[in-house]
Symmetry: C2
Subunit: 350 residues, 2 copies
């Protein structure tokens, strides 16, 4: 049994293909009787409705927004920050009545045609490593693109926060509380899966721009406060998980002298640090201050953090792409805010 198309129905009813098309897309162009006849036959033949692909081709619109983020999708969905952004993006897509096409990108050096073959009208790219091949593939499509967080590509719409300033704000908060022995735990600097102490060189060669700049903010704030950055223990983890944070926490808190404050890259990591502190019987914030980032999982744990309007960012990204206005602003920098909760306090009076 061959596929049922408009033509099949047209032949059966004895009308032209155009008539059948009208029956579906513009019923007012037909007599009611014929329309019903056509619908009956369509039903009888098991017609699945006008083929969306053909329709898409003819109309020149895909009805979908492409989203590209993070190497492994399963990780992306595990990150509260991504999820928040996704919520915003989904809201915009929902309002515009378009779908959200989430694209897996080639992992390692496996080639993939997903970006090339994605049936979308525009792309949103989030948190890609510097020079990731997927970015070039996206730009090659010559569709509207907005990049979120990283990497910033001059001449293309970008959306993010002032990373160094936000990070510096977080750092200054604990420094002003009087902390001098600061430790740092970060995730998402490299893609090599390394977990352990990060040398200065490693820190500076991070392939994720936003994280690299965030780190720069920490360093600057420390140096402003007269702290020698090379003496600041810096632990890098490969995955953004509570477990990884705990590991970093144990490493950092195992040092002598022990840091009295730990700065982190993400809330999830910070939660792990809290776990490590609990393991060691350290009282937070009396004996240890911890700062998160993004305010994505911080509230319940009473974590001091930097709040980013992730949902709003997602919504804005979506609207930008779906509004159809070609004249997008170059660079949209969103506000951030230091949220002080119960995980930070002045250092102990030893």
């Amino acid at each position: 049994m061959a596929r049922v198309t408009l033509q099949t129905i047209a032949d059966r009813v004895g009308v032209s293909r155009a008539t059948v098309s009208y029956a579906f897309s513009r019923p007012d162009q037909l007599s009611e009787g014929l329309r019903q006849r056509i619908m009956e036959v369509a039903d009888e033949l098991g017609y699945a409705g006008p083929n969306p692909t053909a329709r898409s081709l003819r109309l020149g619109r895909a009805g979908a927004l492409g989203l590209i983020f993070t190497e492994t999708l399963a990780y992306a969905f595990a990150d509260p920050y991504s999820i928040g952004f996704l919520q915003g993006l989904a809201t915009a897509a929902e309002d515009a009545g378009v779908g959200l096409l989430i694209l897996p990108i080639p992992h390692g050096d496996r080639r993939s045609e997903t970006v090339r073959d994605a049936v979308v009208d525009s792309f949103c790219v989030m948190s890609l490593a510097d020079g990731h091949p997927a970015l070039a593939e996206v730009f090659a499509r010559k569709l509207p693109v907005v990049v979120v967080d990283e990497p910033y590509v001059p001449g293309h719409p970008f959306l993010g926060i002032d990373e160094p300033a936000a990070a510096a704000t977080a750092a200054r908060h604990v420094l002003r509380l009087g902390h001098r022995r600061v430790g740092v735990a970060m995730v998402g600097l490299h893609e090599d899966g390394y977990t352990g102490w990060a040398s200065q060189e490693r820190q500076q060669s991070a392939v994720y721009e936003a994280m690299r700049r965030r780190r720069g903010g920490y360093q600057q704030a420390c140096e402003e406060a007269g702290i020698d950055w090379s003496g600041v223990p810096f632990y890098e983890v490969a995955r953004n998980s509570r477990e990884a944070g705990r590991k970093a926490g144990h490493a950092l808190l195992g040092r002598d002298p022990r840091p009295t404050a730990i700065l982190t890259n993400t809330d999830v990591l910070a939660l792990g640090i809290l776990d490590a502190a609990a393991d060691l019987g350290l009282e937070v914030p009396r004996e240890l201050s911890v700062v998160g980032f993004s305010d994505s999982a911080a509230e319940e744990a009473g974590l001091t953090t930097i709040r980013q309007a992730k949902q709003e960012m997602g919504e804005t990204a979506g609207r930008l792409l779906l509004s159809g206005t070609a004249a997008e602003p170059e660079r949209l920098i969103f506000p951030y805010e230091l949220i002080v909760r119960a995980s930070t306090a002045p250092p102990p009076q030893t």
Copy 2:
């Protein structure tokens, strides 16, 4: 400036359209020189590569899996259970190199063509209310479909757990611990936004099948234990949030006599109940036992819950749809498991 297509390039180079197509899709069919020439001209003209829609039409495959879940997408992304499922589904999509098209469905009586126009090869439908119009729209597309959790449609692949049995297991756990004064808090029974005590009638007329059956499991277990169900306080909330759970908690714990055990529908709700208990200075589990559902947010809080293999379910759903084997099993029932943690204990010895 008109659009650049294969033809534009062909004309410019002075070859046939087919040749240009081969240059992109099968370079071995051409002399290296000509291929390079074509690529150069393509670059020069700013060609964006073979149009994916046209390609899709010709090849008869969309390269995407459609996902439909929950009325409001932003809510869906807020639910840890959905997220877990999504992770699994994404993994399968990733392995198969296809995209995941998340479709907003019409909310209220707003009409929408998203399902009709979705460029996908198959659909995964998750947690839709009985008789939701989107379901009919999906089936009308005559593509492979798998329904997850609800609603079960005879004759179509289905994937879920034995809801009544799982719920009964949760209930029996607290009943065997000796609890007699049980309260229930559930979300996702209706779509009318109601929050408050639910009459028997309201309970039974729930439009979400899985939740309805889950409730049935609670009732059955209670009745087996000789508890009169009509005396069991049942609080219904409209949103699956910790805040809503807290509200339900206050309502249930404000009753006299106070329940010694509360069964819930989701982990998130259970966390809210714990919040309420904390508000009232009740010690868990000594004075109150709480049971969650899904093991999606339970571990850190030490919550007793029913574990569902959500990620595995997502992956299975994806593989089923992407494997191309038409002969799908009718009904795939996944195992569940009671995970006893620190939120349940025998009732106080009043």
